[in-house]
Symmetry: C2
Subunit: 210 residues, 2 copies
């Protein structure tokens, strides 16, 4: 196996290092976060760190680095209190990835990509049209991560929209039926196909101590 | 699309709800966390919430619910300050999933599954043998998430071990070459195959405002 110590990692060339560390944690979720500024400018940006935090109440977390392209997203969430989470379908991977580009001035990524915004009754933040899973999120709280200055945003699922054929009888959302992407590192995309579901695990009655 | 409001979600039957909310955030990483208690009992448990937090320094986060099976993992991390993260190879999905079973007494999952512990020079916490990616992690800090009582653990990568054929020339760790699993929900496993890598994105010079 190839081995990197902490000291070796710290001395790596920047691009090599961010590729390495961004891809070593495992496969990541691919979500487009839709927001709107107080003066009505739409924003959509890709995030790779949306994580399940709890089911009761339904909470999701996402890490943001406020000095990067995420700035507009963070500011808009704090200004309006709401955002949307939209899954990246196979057909929009390239356009979703382009939302990571850093534009000098505040533009709407809906204007510079083929992504289309969609509004739903009573909800003032934009969804990404045709996304197989869409969520209306309400900001709950934030944590400043001292170790590196990132911010963890915790949000509550206010409304959940799921393409009908993805939802199975026990509540399981079959993401591979929706051709939803997963991300490897900063720029690698895969469309996983579900292999198997495993039963709820109970202790084995005969312990094999070998 | 099927629609669930926040109120409807809160009234769902428990198992339906945890399937729904655990699978709606997107594909998740599959990591086995290895620890050892102060009195030497090994522990290994599967986690679905390991997330990239930053590259400089190299930091990863994971959410734990201290009232569940994660209790031993959390206690051991707090007691010793160290843990390992190990990716789930296709061949150990069933055994990795079994580590989510709740045993009454403190047992080592290495004794009740076919997972084998592996020790490396100078490191006192157990790795999972044959995992394509293994990391030695040092506890940095924790955050108590007020919204639901979970705990976010932030850890620093002390050492990173990667199966040679996964590491590409620019630092990218090609997880699909390692047949690494991703998780959908609580119990769905897929082995993604990388489709494409996209270039670093710069602003488009001609803005299409349509």
């Amino acid at each position: 196996m190839t081995h990197f110590s902490h000291e070796e990692i710290s001395k790596l060339e920047h691009l090599y290092k961010i590729n390495l560390i961004n891809s070593c944690s495992g496969f990541k979720s691919a979500n487009l976060i839709g927001t709107k500024s107080g003066d009505g400018i739409e924003n959509v940006a890709i995030f790779r760190s949306v994580t399940h935090v709890g089911s009761e109440p339904p909470l999701l977390g996402v890490f943001m680095r406020p000095t990067t392209v995420a700035r507009n997203t963070y500011d808009n969430i704090k200004e309006t209190g709401f955002y949307t989470l939209n899954h990246v379908h196979e057909s929009i991977v390239s356009e979703a990835h382009h939302t990571s580009a850093k534009y000098d001035k505040q533009i709407s990524e809906f204007d510079v990509t083929s992504l289309k915004s969609e509004y739903k009754p009573g909800i003032h933040v934009p969804f990404v049209a045709t996304a197989p899973v869409q969520m209306h999120m309400e900001f709950v709280e934030e944590y400043n991560i001292k170790a590196n200055g990132t911010i963890l945003i915790i949000g509550k699922i206010k409304a959940l929209f799921i393409q009908d054929n993805l939802l199975e009888s026990d509540g399981f959302v079959n993401l591979s039926k929706g051709n939803v992407a997963t991300i490897n590192g900063l720029d690698g995309y895969a469309i996983p196909k579900l292999k198997e579901r495993h039963a709820y695990q109970r202790p084995k009655t005969t312990i094999n101590t070998q």
